[in-house]
């Protein structure tokens, strides 16, 4: 089980800020594919991965990163702080 978090328009498209996901995925990309297969709202949120960023356990990473042992995976658009 991994805690999956969504922010900004990724959160708005999926409709919830977080959920616990029971996954067999080895990488972030596989987790995304599992989510996309669930429901159209996930498919819509992840339709263009070039505009989505990912963090594992609160550290920025990429879609090929392994998620074994991860407690928290977060998806969001490029950050716009400052």
């Amino acid at each position: 089980m991994v805690e999956v978090l969504y922010f900004s328009w990724v959160r708005e498209r999926i409709g919830i800020p977080r959920e616990s996901v029971d996954t067999k995925a080895n990488t972030v990309r596989q987790l995304v594919d599992e989510l996309k297969a669930r429901e159209p709202r996930y498919d819509m949120a992840f339709s263009d991965l070039s505009s989505v960023r990912v963090a594992i356990d609160q550290e920025l990473t990429d879609f090929d990163a392994p998620i074994s042992g991860a407690r928290e995976v977060a998806f969001f658009p490029p950050m716009t702080g400052g």
Binding site: M79, T80, G81
Partner: protein, 149 residues
């Protein structure tokens, strides 16, 4: 090295004064303040800033440590707001104290460049025409490259 993430309004002048006053060990202070900018074409009624609470302070402290490793700093201060903001409100500020001005300037610019695209904040603007998330700029990503020599 104070880092504060808060929804409350802050007073730029008072923060700068408190940061510097009584110190005699720094010859240069640089501050940057980001402000909610109004636009005549598409009036902004408010701004909403979302952040990733668990990751925000951690990522900012990492950026701050990098700045302290690259330049000789006496101290630095970072404040970033989240939640509801109005036009004219300060969004965030960075201040650096150093013996010499070039360290203070460069560290402040570096902190700003990284806070822009590496700290987990997202801005949403509410205008007369509708609401929309602020898009990241290619120029902000490009700005990071100058620090990687």
């Amino acid at each position: 090295m104070p880092v504060r993430i808060q929804s409350n309004l802050f007073d730029i002048g008072a923060e700068i004064e408190a940061f510097q006053s009584g110190r005699t060990d720094a010859g240069a202070m640089v501050s940057f303040c980001g402000i909610v900018r109004q636009s005549e074409d598409a009036p902004l009624s408010r701004m909403l800033i979302e952040h990733y609470a668990g990751m925000t302070e951690k990522s900012i402290r990492k950026i701050e440590l990098e700045a302290r490793a690259k330049w000789s700093l006496v101290d630095c201060l970072i404040i970033h707001r989240f939640g509801e903001l109005e036009p004219g409100d300060p969004i965030m500020m960075v201040a650096t104290l150093a013996e010499h001005r070039s360290d203070a300037f460069q560290a402040a610019e570096f902190l700003m460049d990284y806070l822009k695209s590496r700290a987990p904040f997202w801005k949403k603007e509410f205008r007369t025409g509708g609401e929309s998330w602020v898009a990241s700029k290619e120029s902000d990503e490009a700005a990071l490259e100058r620090w990687s020599e």
